[in-house]
Subunit: 121 residues, 2 copies
């Protein structure tokens, strides 16, 4: 069984769509790097049961991303917000040095506060 470490990231987004057993198995396997045997012992199920849980969980995680695109869209959002923040810093720097406009300062302040809020979602 090959490990695809994207699963670990998908788990952050869609872990709550899994059953407790599926989530535990995937966490042990991808986050804690336990062997199938060790996981089987921890969960008190067979090695084949662990393998099935992980395979089923991976299918659910990938289907959820295929349908909802949370991981992809979150990356786009983070990149977009970062670009906006950089350009606001450019405008802010110019305003501090050259134009000294309070109206611009005020708008920059509001935009930075919004960017901080959007970083939280």
């Amino acid at each position: 069984m090959s490990k695809n470490f994207e699963v670990s990231t998908l788990l952050d987004y869609y872990g709550m769509l899994l059953t407790d057993k599926q989530r535990e198995a995937v966490e042990y396997y991808y986050n804690d790097d336990l062997s199938l045997g060790e996981i089987a012992e921890n969960l008190d199920i067979s090695r084949q049961g662990v393998r099935d849980s992980i395979k089923r969980a991976e299918t659910i995680l990938y289907e959820a991303e295929e349908k909802l695109k949370l991981m992809k869209n979150t990356k786009l959002l983070r990149n977009g917000l970062e670009t906006i923040r950089q350009k606001i810093d450019v405008i802010d720097g110019l305003n501090m040095k050259r134009y000294r406009s309070n109206d611009i300062n005020e708008s920059i302040k509001v935009i930075l506060a919004e960017l901080d809020k959007l970083d939280e979602i």
Copy 2:
């Protein structure tokens, strides 16, 4: 059975998590405003089957939102982007009228392009 029209919005986000039958029943009921009897006829199942499908679908939709918060976060995102756009317009207006800085113009252009991209997600 009372109609909660939030379901229609949740359907836009999480409809793909439903089975075809569940989704069709909910669409007929909330989007097309058909009666349970009409839906039963269209889907060739019993009225009770329709009722069960819709109830089950609603549970899935609300649980998905509870877990993933796509509807809530999308609202926050749209509001945040709108506020940023308004403040960029303020800065743009001031720059056009008073400061005439190409460096500011260039940054505004990049920010507006990013906002357009983020509006698409």
